[in-house]
Symmetry: C2
Subunit: 423 residues, 2 copies
């Protein structure tokens, strides 16, 4: 078969990297060249990741996030065949693209659009289906930030206190004199690179410590997330500007566990997943001490992620209950100071800010997002009464390469839907 | 605290080895001496295993076995407080023991007794509860054997054919010239020791190959279950006598996958778990090639295991459907030739046989069992219309040390219940 190449790189496009087409892990045993493993790092490589992202728990240890035994929240269906033709101009382009085309451009594995709580669009590609969990990567952070904001609201957590106040083990690390709020909004000053194309970036040491990368026989580094966090050095002054560093989420996870005495899996289940009307249990990856990867280990089915987005859109209500305090939602939507965000230089996110581990657009619709590497997203547009959730396995490890075909698509979809007064 | 010692060894008794009391994996992070890990082998050690056996998927990679979206099969409750006082004489003892005492003697984590489909007794101890999966260990084999027997019944698998006919990769191994039936009934002649107290026993190499034991930095051995199976040597003649070797189940798993083109997790879900009215999904451990541990990797909630026992007792019916053909159940109940079983020398199992990976008592009640290391059990007594399922974490790795306080207890319970005409 002739292999088509995407415009951006010498890698196969969405259709030609379809994991079912490529036959990863098929056979007993699969042929050597079709294996996707943890031990050789292949699970993180494109296009193998298009299989691995739907099969995380067959590759690494995980903990369940139970949906409990409650009712499933209905998501009424009002399929809208007109939506595929919604068009937009990608960032940096002069040519229109349709919604349908954007799905391939972004290596989408699955996408759900809710309008006024109805499923108006739902598609699955590759190895994903409605009943299979997919890794959410950094979308996880927005769940952790929301739980932290709830604890602040409840008075259990003081966001003006220092990290060392809650976690003395971090006193000598860069986090020691940061406030909880600085961690929650990622305005800490940390010597930690998250440039995935740099093999010496600290993100890799972090991943190895957390058991997310193979270690090699002579590995002498940190054995756990917590051990790694204690080694992080300061670089600059806390509170000056936003800098996206995953370790803030893991530190926040540590603070939350210390304050509540519960695991993150328990908290996610008790505070969110069991009160959402979820269809399926979720799960989260853990390190060798059982510590969940708060920075990116959550795996969910896509409709349940949409239910969480809808909960956020509905001021924290689901199943007739106030699950998240309205004040917490308002605090997230209000965002942080875009002037602290600007120096980070995200050219696709002009005027945005970062608050409680959510990305706030400050656009005229009040849209805000949870964002994960390789294109994971929860996009909430309050004005258009729209929630979009997407799982994807883009070959680019970072949203700056993915935003051009997705952010304008989401906004175009919102503009299209808001015109409709139908339901 | 004074530590009480059990009679059988210098190890703490059930109460003093309670994983909640000992505080395994509590804290963020847990203290070093309270960690239970895969990497240092502690998950397999007593008393840490009393925690690990309820938390397998937080320690190793696993695959889901979905219950699907069907109704839960009701298990009506008729709690019988009289059952704790049922008494019996342990094998090799002259003193009576009560049912209640036997639970501690056997380091029981949970036990369910069904009579005529009613839950008449249900207890959870240690870290287990009704909604937490526990590892079933070799009880797994009886599921695999049942699926194989179904495939034979359906004509998809010829049990008179050689293993090499289905899996040519095994032609040069000990399995090559064994028949499928010899594998199903474990009358193969294999150079493979399953004596857990012998550090050189092949079971350990098997476990390391399958990713169930840490490998050490210089490990050069087989990388997967399938690679290990190809290395097994013959010792004696196939078909002469029963010899319990876990690798038969893994070979049978290979045959089943080859014949069906499906994974064991898919088969277990499609053929059993989704048709049982299970309350919870189950899961199974996998090696680094994604191959499920057919010899012992199943994890289930205890009531769902009881539902499977009840399905067997009801001639293969559940939820008004014939899930397993009646002829398959009859073939299991009929058992194999006890004369081929006797040479194995199980003093607690006189006159028993082994058929389709089930243990058949040939007693007057027609009782038969699925049995797992450390005391896991499904005990089906057709005459008494009774099913007992138990999860346990005994410090003895083998049922011969556990049977004395359980087999006579099960039979005494059957005799007690059969007198009752109440429901």
């Amino acid at each position: 078969m002739e292999t088509k190449i995407s415009h951006e790189s010498a890698l196969p496009d969405a259709a030609h990297s379809d994991p079912l087409l490529l036959g990863w892990m098929v056979g007993s045993p699969p042929p050597k060249e079709k294996l996707v493993r943890f031990s050789d790092g292949s699970m993180l490589k494109f296009p193998q990741n298009r299989w691995a992202n739907n099969n995380y728990r067959s590759l690494v240890p995980t903990k369940d996030i139970s949906r409990g035994s409650g009712l499933v929240a209905p998501l009424p269906r009002s399929d809208r065949p007109d939506l595929d033709a919604v068009s937009f101009v990608p960032i940096g382009s002069s040519e229109d693209m349709t919604w349908a085309e954007s799905l391939s451009a972004n290596y989408t594995d699955g996408i759900v659009v809710l309008h006024k709580g109805h499923i108006v669009y739902e598609r699955y590609m590759g190895a994903l289906d409605a009943d299979t969990p997919h890794i959410a990567f950094s979308v996880t952070k927005s769940f952790i930030g929301t739980i932290a904001a709830c604890l602040v609201h409840e008075g259990l957590l003081d966001d003006t206190a220092s990290v060392a106040h809650y976690v003395p083990e971090l006193e000598k690390s860069a986090f020691g004199d940061a406030t909880v709020r600085q961690v929650m909004d990622m305005t800490t000053a940390l010597q930690y690179s998250e440039v995935y194309t740099d093999p010496n970036a600290e993100i890799w040491a972090h991943a190895r410590a957390g058991g997310l990368l193979p270690r090699g026989p002579d590995y002498q580094g940190p054995q756990s997330f917590y051990e790694f966090l204690q080694s992080v050095k300061k670089l600059g002054n806390h509170g000056e500007s936003f800098a996206y560093k995953t370790i803030n989420s893991d530190t926040l996870g540590w603070i939350i566990r210390r304050v509540t005495g519960q695991s993150m899996a328990q908290l996610l289940s008790q505070r969110i997943w069991s009160r959402l009307g979820a269809e399926h249990d979720a799960y989260i990856t853990v390190d060798t001490e059982g510590t969940e990867f708060a920075g990116g280990g959550l795996n969910t089915c896509l409709r349940d992620l949409a239910r969480f987005g809808e909960l956020m859109r509905n001021d924290g209500c689901a199943m007739g209950q106030q699950v998240i305090p309205k004040a917490v939602i308002e605090d997230i939507r209000k965002g942080a100071d875009p002037r602290k965000f600007a120096p980070a230089g995200y050219h696709t996110l002009p005027g945005w800010s970062y608050r409680n581990m959510w990305w706030i657009s400050h656009n005229s619709h009040g849209a805000y997002m949870a964002r994960g590497i390789h294109g994971q997203a929860i996009y909430i547009d309050p004005m258009a009464q729209m929630v979009i959730t997407r799982y994807a396995s883009h070959h680019i490890a970072g949203n700056l390469g993915i935003d051009p075909h997705s952010l304008p698509a989401y906004h175009a979809m919102a503009l299209h839907l808001v015109k409709d007064r139908g339901y």
